[in-house]
């Protein structure tokens, strides 16, 4: 408090400061405490917001990242080879038939996971701004 004593002294020197400092105390109404506790109990009863199911989502996210990463790597490798040979004909990815059949659904899974993630982030941001 020592650092402010000079400032306090200066402030106390003016009647205006004395008026503002000497405000009468307001006593909360008798029902205030119970009203606050009622709200708090209500808050406590509300279940905690659902958390994003990271455990369930992680395998899908890893799979999608692997598929996209592998595809990107193959494309880059093909492009490098084509550049070295002087011809660029685009990537030729050869996959076993059962893998080719599962790429379509995997892509949909990846897209839906991406959209879920985006909507979760947007909703978190909205809640953050409102609270």
């Amino acid at each position: 408090m020592d650092t402010n004593s000079g400032e306090k002294w200066e402030a106390m020197a003016s009647p205006m400061d004395r008026m503002l400092a000497g405000e009468e105390e307001l006593i909360p109404s008798s029902g205030f405490l119970s009203s606050v506790m009622e709200c708090v109990h209500e808050e406590a009863r509300v279940p905690a917001p659902m958390r994003f199911p990271w455990r369930r989502a992680v395998p899908g996210v890893v799979l999608a990242a692997g598929v996209f990463g592998w595809g990107g790597f193959e494309m880059a490798r093909e492009a490098m080879a084509a550049m070295r040979a002087g011809t660029f004909t685009g990537p030729e990815i050869s996959l076993p038939l059962h893998l080719v059949a599962s790429i379509g659904p995997a892509a949909w899974v990846a897209i839906s996971l991406g959209m879920s993630l985006a909507s979760w982030m947007v909703s978190r941001r909205l809640i953050g701004h409102n609270s």
Partner: protein, 197 residues
């Protein structure tokens, strides 16, 4: 408004009980801090029922964020800071009805048998003038006087450096003193009657 050591201990004990699942322990916190929080809200809005609503919202917000209290600052500092945020947001959402600073009458000198009444009126005019200050100066002025003229405590409540609060306070007080030049003098309010006579 530095907390007493016993209050700080009680606050810590209650917070720990609440965090371990005892909702009712929050009542001790509300009981100890309802007066300061309602009075602080009153200084922001000058409306008793609104002040209680705002203080209630501050307690609920404190309840929700209790786990976020880092023990580096005292509980009261953290609680006042939560409350100041709530009050600031609430007044931005629904501002109080303020006259422009220039339209607030300069308090007249109290005299004779009406002195007490006139002094009361003077004080009300000055407080109305505080409410008419631009928001950032107003908050610095409100919290400075609320914390019994402790700049450091006001700065902690606002979450701003002391230097910034001092600058805002100085500007706010300068605006008030320009509006009420005769209150700038070093004399008690009761001396106005003698000067007027």
């Amino acid at each position: 408004m530095p907390p007493k050591p016993s209050t700080a201990t009680e606050d810590l004990a209650d917070v720990q009980r609440v965090l371990s699942g005892d909702v009712q322990a929050f009542e001790g916190i509300v009981r100890r801090w309802q007066g300061p929080l309602v009075n602080m809200a009153w200084r922001y809005c000058r409306d008793r029922s609104r002040a209680e609503e705002m203080a209630q919202e501050a307690f609920v917000r404190a309840w929700r964020g209790l786990a976020q209290w880092r023990r580096e600052a005292s509980f009261s500092t953290w609680l006042f800071s939560v409350a100041a945020n709530v009050y600031r947001t609430e007044l931005k959402r629904v501002p109080t009805l303020n006259l422009p600073l220039d339209e607030i009458e300069e308090p007249s000198a109290p005299a004779g048998q009406y002195r007490a009444l006139a002094e009361q009126r003077q004080q009300e005019d000055v407080r109305n003038a505080v409410r008419a200050l631009p928001q950032k100066y107003r908050e610095a002025v409100i919290l400075f006087y609320f914390h019994e003229m402790d700049v450091a405590e006001a700065a902690r409540t606002m979450g701003l450096p002391e230097g910034t609060v001092k600058a805002r306070l100085s500007r706010g007080r300068a605006l008030l003193k320009r509006r009420f030049p005769h209150l700038n003098e070093d004399m008690a309010p009761t001396a106005f009657a003698e000067r007027e006579a």
